[in-house]
């Protein structure tokens, strides 16, 4: 038995190394993937610049009405807003909110949804039924409404915004991961592990989880972009990050008052959102094609 187990592990490890090598190769062959990587690298650089070189008090929130609503110039490449603040500095500084909210909410909902999905799919039966019916109810509530309800109960700030978005995302991930687990569960290597007496936690951790990883990564990459849009939407409504903090959605909300005569107030923050989400979507699509080439049309 022992010998057989070792042999199994080796075969599996071997397969998975080959698998990820193939995924990597397919990923790098994809032009869209490289474009997405480039864009994301630029955004991360911009964010880092904001973290290290932009001062919140003097460059982000300090008002200077004498230079308000200036159109783009050398000194202010994206112009200034209604309070005379430099829009480029605010966008660079504000990138941290979107990235932080997007990644935190995605990781949190992946973790919770993944746990629920794994448990439901692995144990099946009654546990599966109860958990998934519960998820069905959550899915029946439109996620924006759920987020609005949560923020309205807990109050508008960044942490509550993350909680609100996470709650809306969990059932979707739970469903995806449950079905991934179900398709893996019946594989022989899992049965072999059960046969040699592996514990549930051990089997989930060593066999099920690594094999759902591909699905997880793809979902997560696409999920971050979606969460960034959701977060900026709630901030736009005044239910997330509040002005004067330069969250992109909040900037758009402030800028809309001046849309008629100073459209640059809404154009640049919006572009920042689009480019960020586009980069993440490009990566997600490319990863999906790389992980499962058969899905590609």
């Amino acid at each position: 038995m022992l010998i057989r187990k070792e042999a199994n592990v080796e075969v599996e490890a071997h397969q998975s190394r080959g698998f990820w090598q193939d995924v990597g190769a397919r990923f790098w062959k994809n032009r869209m993937a490289r474009l997405g990587m480039l864009l994301l690298a630029l955004i991360v650089l911009g964010c880092l610049y904001g973290v290290f070189f932009i001062d919140y008090d003097t460059q982000v929130v300090e008002q200077n009405v004498s230079i308000k609503l200036q159109t783009p110039s050398l000194e202010h490449p994206f112009g200034t807003d209604g309070f005379g603040r430099d829009i480029l500095s605010r966008i660079l500084y504000g990138s941290r909110y979107s990235l932080l909210i997007g990644f935190t909410a995605t990781i949190a909902s992946l973790f919770i949804g993944g746990l629920i999905g794994c448990i439901a799919g692995y144990f099946g039966g009654k546990i599966d039924n109860i958990l998934m019916r519960f998820m069905d109810v959550f899915i029946a509530i439109p996620s924006t409404l759920m987020a609005i309800a949560v923020v309205s109960a807990l109050g508008a700030n960044m942490v509550n915004l993350i909680i609100a978005i996470t709650i809306g995302d969990v059932p979707g991930y739970a469903r995806v991961i449950r079905s991934a687990v179900l398709s893996i569960k019946d594989n022989e290597f899992v049965e072999a592990s059960v046969a040699v007496g592996g514990s549930h936690a051990h089997i989930i951790a060593t066999h099920i989880f690594p094999n759902t990883l591909a699905v997880l990564i793809v979902q997560a990459t696409l999920g971050v972009g979606y969460d960034i849009i959701a977060a900026s939407g709630l901030s736009y409504l005044g239910l997330g990050v509040m002005p004067p903090d330069p969250e992109w959605g909040a900037m758009l909300s402030e800028g809309q008052t001046h849309i008629r005569y100073s459209p640059h107030l809404v154009i640049f923050p919006g572009l920042a959102i689009v480019i960020t989400v586009l980069a993440l979507n490009l990566l997600g699509d490319a990863l999906r094609d790389a992980v499962d080439p058969t899905l590609k049309d």
């Binding site: 019916r133 519960f134 069905d136 109810v137 959550f138 029946a140 509530i141 439109p142 996620s143 924006t144 409404l145 759920m146 609005i148 309800a149 949560v150 923020v151 309205s152 109960a153 807990l154 109050g155 972009g225 849009i229 900026s232 939407g233 736009y236 409504l237 005044g238 239910l239 959605g249 758009l252 809309q256 849309i259 008629r260 459209p263 809404v266 154009i267 919006g270 959102i273 689009v274 480019i275 989400v277 586009l278 979507n281 490009l282 699509d285 049309d297």
Partner: protein, 312 residues
């Protein structure tokens, strides 16, 4: 078919109950003193206390929920703490705006995305296909409120073709509906495309080709009907987004629908109104999902037959 519809309606009841429990619980967490909100700053502490007592504010949560549901079944969603107007009346007043917006969104989406999706599937890897792929990518990355502002900027403020804000006339609905649908067009078109490509690979399409059926007929008669099944489900699910998204779109275009009603309620901590709006929209979404399920049964004979539909 009746059996099928009945079964679906019965299956919906526990979901609706579950929705109400979750939403009631979450919104009950809202801090604040309803008596003070209703009576204002100058009311005496005793009056506030009496008001809270009469509202059942101090009852345990299950009792409050039970009372709320009892009233709900009688069609009473309570009264607004701010205006004193009945919640169901406010919703009834605002609902037509949101409903019209959502309907226009769905219709525009279907009309634009399905033919386009079929076309790019048939002309796979053509110039048009590649262009639409890029367009779809960009649109999926766009937040609705930003697209809304751009549309307003171009069509209302620069070209003066349509009104920018408000919901007084039909013209006011065009830009908001277009905004919402353009975002779903990207998704539904891609979905129709991949669904079509999947169907075209099926054996029964090859069978039709082997019969000598023309390519035109194969696409529209054999492929599209099969390809639309998953697309319809997605469009039904998207209705949830449409309702949630209407909060944002109505805000951008200053329309007086349920979305803006909800937002005002949230900002003024008007708990009965928030609860009423969220519940109402979630219930509406469930009803739409039900309708989608039923229409699925009509399109797909396999489901129709399962529930003893017409035979022979």
């Amino acid at each position: 078919m009746h059996k099928f519809i009945l079964k679906r309606i019965l299956m919906m009841i526990p979901v609706l109950l579950g929705i109400s429990v979750i939403i009631y619980t979450i919104i009950s967490l809202t801090p604040g003193n309803p008596g003070r909100l209703i009576l204002g700053e100058r009311a005496s502490a005793e009056a506030v206390e009496a008001m809270n007592e009469s509202l059942g504010y101090y009852d345990p949560l299950p009792v409050k929920y039970f009372n709320y549901m009892k009233n709900l079944l009688r069609g009473d969603l309570g009264t607004s703490w701010r205006s004193g107007v009945s919640v169901i009346e406010s919703i009834g007043e605002r609902f037509p705006t949101t409903l019209l917006l959502a309907t226009m969104d769905i219709v525009l989406t279907a009309v634009m995305s399905i033919p386009l999706g079929v076309l790019v599937a048939v002309k796979k890897e053509s110039l048009l296909d590649n262009i639409m792929t890029v367009v779809a990518l960009v649109f999926t990355a766009m937040p609705s409120f930003w697209l809304g502002m751009l549309m307003m900027l171009v069509f209302a403020l620069s070209l003066n073709l349509l009104p920018a804000t408000g919901s007084e006339s039909f013209a006011h609905f065009i830009l908001p509906a277009l905004t919402m649908s353009l975002l779903s067009v990207a998704q539904i078109m891609r979905m129709t495309r991949s669904s079509m490509l999947e169907v075209i690979r099926q054996d029964y399409i090859r069978t039709a080709r082997a019969k000598g059926v023309s390519e035109q007929k194969i696409i529209w008669r054999h492929a599209v009907r099969n390809a639309l099944l998953p697309v319809i489900t997605t469009m039904g699910n998207n209705f949830g987004w449409t309702l949630g998204g209407s909060v944002i779109t109505e805000t951008v275009f200053g329309m007086s629908g349920i979305g803006t009603l909800l937002l005002t309620a949230v900002r003024s901590k008007d708990v009965p109104l928030v609860m009423g709006c969220v519940l109402f929209m979630s219930f509406t979404f469930s009803v739409v999902t039900l309708l989608v399920d039923i229409s699925y049964g009509i399109i797909d004979p396999r489901i129709k037959a399962e529930y003893g539909g017409r035979k022979g």
